[in-house]
Subunit: 206 residues, 2 copies
DNA sequence: GTCTATAACGGGATAGAC
DNA sequence: GTCTATCCCGTTATAGAC
């Protein structure tokens, strides 16, 4: 052991970084214990299995984010604007680290088959439901189905930034800057609010 | 061999389905050859490795989509609306099968580290560049950096639908219907066009 | 709690008969 | 082109000493 950080936390730190960059299946316990500079068997001692480790890594990050989301939603009062609601949802996420933890969140959001039960149903669905209710008050003319679609479009837009964040500057000749988080949140909120406010036509089978 | 479909195509069909639902790492060659009802060694005969198989599976679907995208972009004339441009980009994608091929496309779009070279740079960047140029003419007041961000928000929104498509009805009590593709395309285009048209404020370091 | 050593297994890939 | 059999490696997980 090199630093004074407990073994369990060293494993969590290394795992979340590697899971984020390489994916859950592609990351072996050996990769994790090597990066964390702990013994291989420590993973199965502190966590019971790789699967439990994955759950622990995710829960450690999602729970504080969701707590802040609900706090900020409560803080903006009874009749917030769409922009305020979206900011309450997004800002706790984008305060996290783009190198280590945001890629992990991206993985979680883009693997429904793997995580819909252990993440969406357990950690996310109640929060989404709260925000959906508030958004419905802010956009009373939007039909329920359209609201759901737009929520998913929005979550997808954000998920993509989580997944691609670190390499966005490279594929856009430096035009996409991820260092200014306040600006990034405002950009996202403006775009998504524009989408939520777009006219919703009735869709038939044409 | 049960049907008359050539072995090579049987492998591609089974692989794209399994890659889409389970992911690339989680799908073994044994899974694929069992589903395709072909011999294990056939994969290494027709393709050289699992990695080459992955590339072949992706290229088979992406290339026709991109050809149609450019055809439809050409077909809408010199000064198309934002809605027309977005429809030209999205419609060839959403004509594909939500059970087999769209989940695969979702995987590809949400794994930048794995696919930025073999997919984005090879198959996608030229097409995105064409659409970015046309969009810039349709939205002359939008700064270049904002354009890039909004393109990525849009691609993310769509990617999310590709990844989550099959289970969206389940998590929304049936409100999200993916069977009517025309309606889905129109919904997405309306949302994204609203986002692209949103006012873009200048972002400082506040 | 932490280590070494190893079990038990499944993975990709290939040799060689047909 | 297609098959069987097998090699060789990396994986998760655990047993047992310290």
């Amino acid at each position: 052991m090199i630093a004074s950080i407990p073994t369990k936390d060293r494993i969590l730190d290394a795992a979340e970084k590697l899971f984020g960059t390489d994916g859950f299946e592609a990351t072996s316990l050996r990769d994790i214990t090597t990066a964390a500079q702990v013994n291989l068997a420590a993973v199965n001692y502190h966590f019971q299995s790789k699967d439990s480790l994955i759950e622990a890594v995710i829960a450690r990050r999602i729970e504080p984010v969701n707590r802040k989301r609900l706090e900020r939603l409560d803080a903006i009062g009874e009749n917030p604007t769409v922009e305020q609601i979206l900011t309450a949802y997004l800002s706790p996420l984008f305060e996290l680290d783009f190198e280590a933890v945001l890629p992990l969140m991206g993985r979680v959001h883009s693997n429904p088959e793997q995580f819909v039960d252990r993440v969406y149903r357990r950690h996310l669905s109640a929060v989404v439901e709260r925000f959906r209710t508030v958004l419905r008050r802010a956009l009373p003319d939007l039909p329920d189905d359209e609201m759901w679609w737009r929520l998913h479009f929005s979550i997808g837009a954000i998920t993509h930034v989580l997944c691609w964040g670190r390499i966005l500057p490279a594929v856009t000749d430096g035009l996409c800057d991820i260092s200014d988080r306040g600006a990034l949140i405002r950009r996202a909120v403006q775009f998504l609010a524009g989408g939520f406010r777009a006219a919703a036509t009735v869709h038939g089978n044409t």
